[in-house]
Amino acid sequence: MAESATKTQLLDVRNLRIEAVAESGARVTLVDDVSFTLNPGEVLGLIGESGAGKSTIGLSTLVYARSGCQITGGQIVFRGHELRELGIEARQSLRGAKVAYIAQSAAAAFNPAHTLYDQVCEVALQHGVMNASQARVEAVRLFRELDLPNPETFGNRYPHQVSGGQLQRAMAAMAMIAKPDLLVFDEPTTALDVTTQVEVLASFKKLIRDHGTAALYITHDLAVVAQVADRIMVLRHGKMVEEGAATQILQQPRMDYTRMLVAERVAAQASTFVAPHGSSAQPILATRDVVASYRSGPRVIDNVSIELMRGDTLAVVGESGSGKSTLARVIVGLLPRQEGDVLFNGESLPPRLESRSKEQHRRIQMIYQMPDVALNPRQTLLDIIGRPIAFYFNKSRREVRARVEELMRQIDLPLDYISRRPGELSGGQKQRVCIARALAAEPDVIICDEVTSALDPLVADEILRLLRRIQDQTGVGYLFITHDLGTVRRIANKVAVMYKGQMVAYGATQQVFNPPYHPYTELLLSSVPEIRSDWLDEVLRKRRKVVR
């Protein structure tokens, strides 16, 4: 009876249920009652935060479950065939030939021991789609189509010999070579810098459009999925929240959760800026022509001068390798500077951590990207937050406890968490504990090193709000290190843009983020995906004009 319906449909997933089975036999549901269909040539975006089950669903269309996981219910009908009933050999001839997968990290997914040709052509050869010379011709064609440099010789290289963005595109070539009916993109641009992401995204979009291949596009970034998807499905904790046409989800979301996601993304594009309000003449923290490098290598930061006023937030932005985190290490003394000066309240700080006084340590605190490794798993929250209080202010145990409770109220954690260990907290809660630990020292400056990058957007948003509230209450200054321009817009009144160790732009956020731009700042700004669906085409059109 469903025969006629399934004929036009490429993929029909019904009531999918996937569970993780622990050794002890305990079961955790990863994906619960998820259904969707996909027509030939259609692109469905799967959106959700970590733990939403997006990747697990994506892999299930290749009848694959990671170790410890099991598909325990539902149907996966592909071209009228129930995939769950396929034997091992039938699964093998499905994977790569009919349904192909593009992973998040190409650097890890390519075998270091073989050339790119070997690995790209292997798919076509193993499935008997073409012979060796045909496969090579096809590979070169795909390399050219994906804008890879020197397409004729590109495949002779080994994975470690090409850049991350190129490798990600090579993986798309590997996926396309056997001409599959369905591509599964699993966060394929998440690990890339924004300026690279634009190019890779454009290549993927062209590929899907030109070949008319259907795709599942998995990502946590609404703005990315807006560029490629016809329809979007929003997932949360393994369950479907809502599904609809891309424009409907992005413009008129029906469910609260989707609305929150969209609102968060729109806020990141806001063009209103926080104005600098620091009025004191003397900066609380400043660097003067600082130069530093690791061992005797090249300069990682070169002549960087910044000033942070009391109560202000200065963002240091840049892509990976720009030296932004190194700047933080130099300021706190983990990496001694080679030239220049670091001034705190007008006084020069010793270059080395070990030569600084307790008071100098106390007044500059740091919060990290990964709250998981920033908290000792064997200590309770009382130990963690209480230690700076006991250490710097010589308080009695009762006073320490009282202050810890006060701080926990400030960061909105229930007081009965005081004897818990970090392992019992969620990622966002852990980051709050890190904030409380920094606040416990009553510092003048907190250095925030990518503090929201490892968190889901909604959680990151809460953390940013908390940081702003704390700034209003205590007048602490933030040095905010990040790669995310949306974060900068929301929190910083001043910004320093770093590129390959040099500071290329510096000033009030309003001024740096508005014309006339520095060329690199403009490139960065224009590379941040926006939630309107014509953003990518527009950026590409503009850039092509510039080239001509």
């Binding site: 600084r356 990290y368 990964m370 200590q379 250490f391 392992g423 019992e424």
Partner: protein, 275 residues
């Protein structure tokens, strides 16, 4: 089954039982040994009987009683050597990981050179120079194993030192002692505990091997290894006498290894992360 919040597997339980029986009988040897371990009581190689469970040895002494006393020596020597190895190795390993720079380079180079010889050879060379006694055995094995423990402790500490909670403690201005005692040690204990068990089992086999070669525990004292050597002549006669102490060595080592495997499996499980 749960013990102190840890899931105890069947193999771990058996392992612990074996250790308990071996150590217990060694400690209680003077009270539970049925005979004087050094008194000839009958014919050489008398077969096992109700009176002499494992028979008599090459000069008619009760094998069972001798094994109880021999276990004392073997276990004590191995345990003291392991303790020495850990006292020296952990301190040096942590120092290398934390201080880095020349301390690390110097200690690591020394370790490389010492371990570029098989440990047994190094021990033989030392014994050839100073002779063999309980103190020499403990010092030699302890110090040689300290080099291995140094490497393990260094690696474990290195993995922890790079974590940001240690960096946070350093940025706070904490002293070296606090960092080691409160931040590193609690997190290094599980892997080091497994290593302690492993090291003990190796030290135990090592003492036994040296004694078997005649270069370990000297007569009239006898540990399990030298008992094997003394009774080796029984083998061509078709008697299993030397196999009893050898089997005892194997049994305790298996027991310790079972527990070590369990400790390692506890450690490899992602600790307390609810992600």
């Amino acid at each position: 089954m749960n013990v102190l919040g840890y899931r105890l597997t069947l193999t771990a339980l058996i392992g612990w039982l074996i250790i308990l029986v071996c150590v217990g009988s060694a400690v209680l040897a003077p009270w539970i040994a049925p005979h004087d371990p050094n008194a000839p009581l009958g014919q050489r190689w008398e077969a096992p009987s109700a009176e002499h469970w494992f028979g008599l040895d090459q000069i008619g002494r009760d094998m069972f009683s001798r094994m109880l006393y021999g276990g004392r020596i073997s276990i004590t020597l191995a345990f003291l050597a392991t303790c020495l190895a850990f006292a020296v190795g952990v301190v040096a390993g942590f120092a290398a990981a934390l201080l880095g720079r020349w301390v690390d380079v110097a200690l690591s180079r020394i370790a490389d050179v010492i371990l570029s010889m098989p440990i047994l050879m190094s021990a033989l060379i030392v014994i050839s120079a100073v002779g063999s006694s309980a103190a020499v055995l403990i010092l030699t094995i302890g110090l040689l194993y300290a080099v291995i423990v140094f490497r393990v402790a260094r690696a474990v500490a290195m993995n922890i030192v790079v974590l940001e909670y240690v960096e946070a403690a350093r940025l706070r201005g904490e002293g070296l002692f606090w960092v080691i005692l409160r931040e590193i040690l609690p997190n290094a204990l599980p892997p080091l505990a497994a290593e302690f068990g492993l090291r003990f089992s190796f030290a135990f086999l090592f003492v036994a091997s040296l004694s078997f070669l005649g270069l370990g525990v000297q007569p009239p004292d006898a540990d399990w290894g030298s008992m094997v050597k003394e009774s080796a002549l029984a083998i061509p006669a078709g008697l299993a006498a030397p196999l009893y102490p050898a089997a005892a060595i194997a049994l305790l080592t298996i027991g310790v290894n079972m527990v070590v495997d369990w400790l390692l499996s506890l450690h490899s499980r992602p600790h307390g992360d609810n992600a």
